[in-house]
Amino acid sequence: MFYSKSKPIRLMILSGMLVPSLLFVAGTFFAGIFISGVQSLDYFPLIGKTTLSFRVYIELFHSAIFYRSLFFSLGISLAATFISALIAVILALWLRRYVRHGRWLHFLLQFNLPVPHVVGAIAILLLFGQSGLISRLTYWAGMIQQPSQFPVLVTDQNGIGIVLEYVWKEVPFIAVSVLSILKSWVVPYEKQLQLLGANAWQRWKLVTFPFMLPSLLSSSIIVFAYTFGSFEVPYVLGSISKPTLPILAYQAYLNPNLTYRSEAMAINIVITIISMFLVIFYMKWGEGYAEKRR
């Protein structure tokens, strides 16, 4: 019934079969973008705004609060990505020596991958808060005299708690993707270079790092994109007075004054555009780079 000898017809039939699911996935996605887009252009008939304008964007790009949130978000993402990548590479280099215990180490490394970010965020709150477990332990150990002496690591102005959660969650993600390269096909290249006279540092510089770079780069871009657009972690661990960009959008969206709705949508569109750039970087420097090196 669905069979045809002609390749174009077979492709058409296959495309036709994919249409319902595509409509659902792409339809809802693009509908969301479209609604956000028009609302960000000040079109909101419910409150009588029926003309399109860039007024909200102009106001947004002149707003100090917007820039503070944007740079705060970018700073958190950059710090979380850089620290995660660094720890992941060190961890992967250390773990690959223990190939014989591979199964156990892999389990230990990956056990937090299925844990939702919000669970991690709550755990960080309970651990590192001023009334958290570590604070209490240091109090019992006599290192601090009262909970307020424990450094502010969560809901702080610098986003330390948020970065801590991202690092906890993303280190295994990056390490797993790097480890798979390090454990298998980079080894004979390292041996070959060693036989040509390369010491440990030269092998790292000329073989190990260039070979792991594509997977390190692609997983780091994914981590950066996720942490930049993530809502729940800064919601639990962030400071109300210094919101990240998604929190700023959420605050505007929840404002009882509906004129702020367009501002929320404009922030969403900015986040979407930055995320789209990250997708392009991923395609070009992540996947594309890896393909070129294979």
Binding site: P188, L195, P210, K292
Partner: protein, 353 residues
């Protein structure tokens, strides 16, 4: 320490290696010597320990016992990068993100040679391996044979004291294998570099080697020159491995042995084999079909193998294999004769079979 003239360039003495208990494989004591400009072939089936031995010499594995002396200096305690040797593997392991030239000169770069000198040397060596003008090319533009030649150039440009080859041509087609073999012979002759090659390809081994070491399950079966392993197998397994098709029963008495092919003269080196029942080994190319021969035979079948025809014949109730150069057609059941084209035969005592 000064090298005495009488000492061979490479001396491997009682080298052993035991893998982790889980693997259970161990390489028994191995000893050999190698002179400059000679190629030692380590032959053996898969799992015989030939690659392990090569990795021990390279320094990629540390021996449990034994020593390696190269150019008068012990090297078994040194890491691979300090042994001044080079190794070519089955795969080329060229760095895909570098050009042909950058790959060739990487060993010189590691030694800190200035870039203009590196380029001159690399272009010279590329010229010698038949890749003139390839310096700037990307690796993706090379064929399999060209990649292997780049790997060879990369290994030679650092002027190693010893070149190790771990089944380097096994992934190439037969024509390219022959071509690469001829490159290796030329380089050995021109550069006088001692080489050790691991292979399970008998034909390739016999074509290139000057010395041979045959391994099985981590133990040496035989070592020696081409004549030794071709004419004088140490035991039945080696005879089979070296492709000797005919192993016949015989009764030895002094310098003669009686077999169903008649009364034959024993090889001078076999005189010490005790008299009595023995096995004689006969290469199939030493038997020829001859209608005028007094040894009568009946054809049991024949098959063409590309360059020769393998004929099975029955002589006095026993089967023998005969190789005839070129394409021949013999009908099954045809009556003919067999002639032995060698003046003496190699025999083995029955207990080592």
């Amino acid at each position: 320490m000064l090298t005495r003239l009488s000492e061979p360039f490479l001396q491997v003495t009682d080298l052993t290696y035991q893998y982790a208990p889980a693997k259970s494989f161990s390489l028994g004591k191995q000893s050999f010597t190698l002179e400059k400009g000679k190629l030692l072939v380590i032959l053996g089936p898969s799992g015989s320990g030939k690659s392990t031995l090569l990795q021990l010499i390279a320094g990629l594995l540390r021996p449990n016992e034994g020593e390696i002396i190269m150019g008068g200096k012990p090297i078994h305690h040194l890491p691979p990068e300090k042994r001044n040797l080079s190794m070519i593997f089955q795969k080329t392991y060229l760095l895909p993100f570098l050009t042909v030239g950058a790959n060739v000169e990487i060993g010189l770069k590691l030694k800190g040679m200035p870039s203009h000198k590196r380029r001159v040397r690399s272009e010279e060596i590329l010229n010698q391996v038949g890749l003139t003008g390839f310096y700037q090319r990307p690796l993706s533009s090379l064929s399999g044979g060209q990649e292997q030649r780049v790997a060879l150039a990369r290994s030679l440009v650092i002027e190693p004291q010893l070149l190790l080859l771990d089944e380097p041509f096994s992934q190439l087609d037969p024509l390219l294998r022959r071509q690469m073999g001829s490159w290796i012979s030329d380089i050995k002759r021109m550069w006088e570099i001692p080489m050790i090659m691991v292979t399970h390809d008998r034909e390739e081994a016999l074509a290139l080697g000057d010395q041979f070491l045959i391994l099985r399950d981590g133990a040496e079966q035989q070592s020696g020159t081409l004549d030794n392993i071709y004419y004088e197998p140490a035991n039945r397994w080696t005879a089979d491995f070296m492709g000797i098709d005919n192993v016949l029963d015989g009764i030895k008495k002094g310098t003669r042995v009686t077999t169903f092919l008649g009364d034959l003269k024993v090889h001078p080196h076999c005189i010490r084999v005790p008299d009595g029942p023995v096995r004689i080994v006969l290469r199939s190319e030493w038997l020829q079909l001859d209608f005028t021969s007094s040894i009568k035979a009946t054809i049991e079948g024949c098959s063409f193998r590309g360059e020769y025809t393998e004929v099975k014949a029955n002589v006095n109730g026993e089967s023998v294999v005969i190789k005839q150069l070129g394409l021949s057609n013999y009908e099954r059941g045809m009556e003919t004769g067999v002639r032995l084209a060698t003046s003496n035969v190699w025999c083995l005592p029955k207990e080592v079979m």
